[in-house]
């Protein structure tokens, strides 16, 4: 029931959504354009998809990006969860202020600075201890973990704060030792948050161009680096095809997640109804 007086609000909503989506639709539309010149319609065709699938470069970049994203998401979830536990559960400890600053700074740090500083670290390290010898997969993964663990930590922190701590005490009271409590109670309750964090870290990694292009080395092109180097000089119809595939994949994923969440919410409503019916 949108308010009567808010015709203006509705207009802005429509305008804003159109603004967000029209470019994406055009991008998809032109991927089916036969013409080599992107904005000039030359009839429907899927030739750019064929071009795309025949390019070994693209496949290499996709595989590299996926490998980095997978490892990044896993480690970032692990470290982010530990960081959130440290922030929420241990009250004051030595160096907490610095820690809280370090865990939230990557969220707002301009990418160029993060990228530059990490590259300089890797160069300095290589100078002193000879590692990392070559930059690429490892250095990009480390850089991604460093900034995506901050996002995971924020998600887990809010879940930890909302969690009834007496649930953990109850487990302890029933005979579970600390690690057992962590495994049986805390982690299962944090699991949805960890999954969300994992997905976010995965996406952030797949999406990152700036940091990766600082810390990468010759021959290691992630997908965004490859796309960037191609579009820098103008429009490329095969990139439209690639963009269409990426956008469709992500959209299906997000819609699926939204649907699952919606179903869960419905289940919860049903549970509540069921509970109130059975009270005596």
């Amino acid at each position: 029931m949108i308010h009567k007086r808010s015709r203006w609000v509705i207009a802005m909503l429509c305008f804003g959504l159109a603004f967000l989506y029209v470019p994406i639709f055009l991008l998809i539309l032109y991927s089916f354009n036969h013409s080599k010149l992107v904005p000039i319609w030359g009839g429907f065709s899927t030739r750019w998809y064929t071009v795309l699938f025949e390019s070994p470069e693209v496949w290499e970049a996709v595989m590299l990006s996926l490998r980095i994203a997978l490892i990044n998401a896993t480690f970032a979830t692990l470290l982010g969860t530990l960081a959130a536990l440290a922030m929420v559960r241990f009250g004051r400890f030595k160096g907490r202020t610095l820690f809280s600053g370090m865990i939230s700074a990557p969220l707002v740090m301009p990418e160029v600075i993060t990228g530059l500083s990490l590259l300089l670290l890797f160069i300095t390290l290589a100078d002193i201890i000879g590692w990392p010898g070559a930059r690429g997969f490892t250095t990009i993964t480390i850089a991604h973990i460093t900034f995506s663990m901050a996002y995971v930590a924020v998600i887990i922190q809010s879940r930890l704060i909302g969690m009834d701590q007496s649930i953990e005490e109850a487990a302890q009271d029933l005979g579970a030792k600390p690690l057992r409590v962590l495994w049986d109670i805390t982690l299962p309750i944090l699991a949805p948050g960890m999954l969300a964090g994992w997905l976010l870290a995965f996406t952030l990694s797949l999406d990152d161009l700036v940091i990766a292009s600082f810390v990468t080395g010759p021959g290691s092109n992630t997908l965004p680096i490859l796309i960037f180097s191609r579009i820098k000089l103008g429009l490329k119809p095969d990139i439209n095809a690639l963009a269409t595939l990426i956008i469709l994949t992500v959209s299906i994923g997000v819609l699926l997640a939204a649907w699952l969440m919606w179903r869960q919410e419905k289940q919860r409503m049903q549970d509540r109804k069921m509970a109130s019916r059975t009270d005596h």
């Binding site: 009834d164 007496s166 649930i167 005490e169 109850a170 487990a171 302890q172 009271d173 029933l174 005979g175 579970a176 030792k177 057992r180 049986d184 109670i185 299962p188 309750i189 919860r268 549970d271 509540r272 069921m274 509970a275 109130s276 059975t278 009270d279 005596h280």
Partner: protein, 382 residues
């Protein structure tokens, strides 16, 4: 419960009885704040003991020290002869029912109840048997496969109870066990809790801020304030013979008159009101008090008789005033009587007859005469 005066039901009167739980000189400080201040307490086997007090009085901290979630800053706690202050929560022969129930949201009723037994490494058959027994005891047979969020408040409370009891603890700690239930369910559950305790004979220690709950449930009550015990005793003792103004006011309500002792004999004292020289109270009292001792006379509102006619013979414990306010509660009414000297007195009367033509026994501004027996009031020295 406490109608049976047999001494086996009142072990605290028997000096030969060894207390089951001994709290000795226990103090808990959080930084500068002293939550529990050097307390001693004995609790006997199969008691249903209540720690009663307002928020922040230290009752929950004491309970958490019994459970093992807090370590005493000083002193020790003995359960069945064993010093437990430094034993972690998971190794104590004590279980707790949490105020929020703290059910594991990702486990079914059955798994919640079985969790503690699994941690003890009992054989599967034994676990299944004991869980089934417990589910039957708390009448949750139809809900064993449900998750906590599919249960009503009352059902959750029973799962929490079953989960804590299934390990057959030496002591069951209950933190505000009924606070999350609505009023109706609370009364029903109160008796259920007492029945289960009676059946199993486990020692219960209940923390509550609700004095009615404490009165109905417990064998004995300890009233706490600012980290100390103010008074410990049976519900009757606490209500009928409070030993301080704090307890008299905290448990139920009381009309309190300040005064000085005029005469004191073996069985009664005469007190003159400090506010009104013409007022004198005679109170039956066993202890002797020196003349001129500053005391307070406390009378419960329901122990005051209210009459419309002036008493024929003047005597002690007689007051007069006019009705200032009436609170009609159905089965009884609360009256605020303004005495001639300006003091307000609370009087409670059961509504034994139906009001005729909508009019009550007494009306606003009507003059009334109050009186109570000398055995109904008590003298407090602090």
């Amino acid at each position: 419960m406490s109608t049976d005066l047999n001494d086996t039901h009142r072990p605290w009167l028997d000096p030969k009885q060894e207390p089951f739980i001994k709290i000795r000189g226990v103090t808990k400080r959080f930084g500068d704040f002293t939550a529990v201040d050097n307390v001693d307490l004995d609790i006997y086997k199969s008691e249903l003991f209540c720690l009663l007090g307002g928020s922040g009085c230290g009752k929950s901290t004491l309970l958490r020290m019994l459970a093992g979630f807090e370590t005493p800053t000083a002193g020790n706690i003995f359960i069945d002869g064993e010093a437990v202050a430094n034993i972690p929560a998971y190794a104590r022969p004590v279980n707790m029912m949490f105020q929020s129930y703290a059910l594991f949201p990702h486990m079914t009723v059955e798994k919640n109840i079985a969790y503690g037994l699994k941690r003890d490494g009992l054989p599967k058959k034994e676990i299944t048997r004991r869980v089934a027994e417990m589910i039957e005891l708390v009448e949750l047979g139809d809900f064993r496969q449900r998750k906590p969020n599919q249960l009503s408040g009352g059902q959750r409370q029973r799962v929490a109870l079953a989960r804590a009891l299934v390990k057959q603890p030496k002591v069951l700690l209950l933190d505000e066990p009924l606070a999350a239930l609505d009023k109706r369910l609370r009364e029903h559950t109160q008796y259920e809790l007492m029945n289960i305790q009676d059946q199993l004979g486990v020692t219960f220690i209940v923390v509550t801020h609700d004095q009615e709950e404490a009165m109905t449930l417990s064998t004995r009550i300890a009233v706490m304030d600012q980290g100390r015990f103010i008074q410990t005793g049976t519900p009757t003792e606490i209500y009928e013979s409070p030993d301080s103004r704090f307890v008299a006011n905290f448990i139920g309500s009381a009309n309190i008159f300040q005064g000085h002792v005029i005469t004191s004999t073996a069985d009664h004292v005469v007190v003159r009101s400090a506010q009104d020289d013409t007022l004198q109270f005679t109170v039956r009292h066993s202890a002797e008090l020196a003349q001129n001792t500053k005391v307070w006379v406390a009378v419960r509102p329901e122990k005051i008789r209210m009459l419309k006619d002036a008493p024929t013979t003047p005597g002690p414990n007689q007051l007069a005033g006019s009705v200032h306010d009436i609170g009609y509660l159905g089965r009884l009414s609360n009256y605020k009587i303004k005495l001639d000297n300006g003091k307000m007195i609370d009087v409670t009367h059961p509504n034994q007859t139906r009001p005729t033509s909508g009019r009550h026994l007494v009306d606003w501004d009507e003059r009334v005469y109050l009186h109570w027996d000398s055995a109904s009031a008590i003298v407090l020295t602090h």
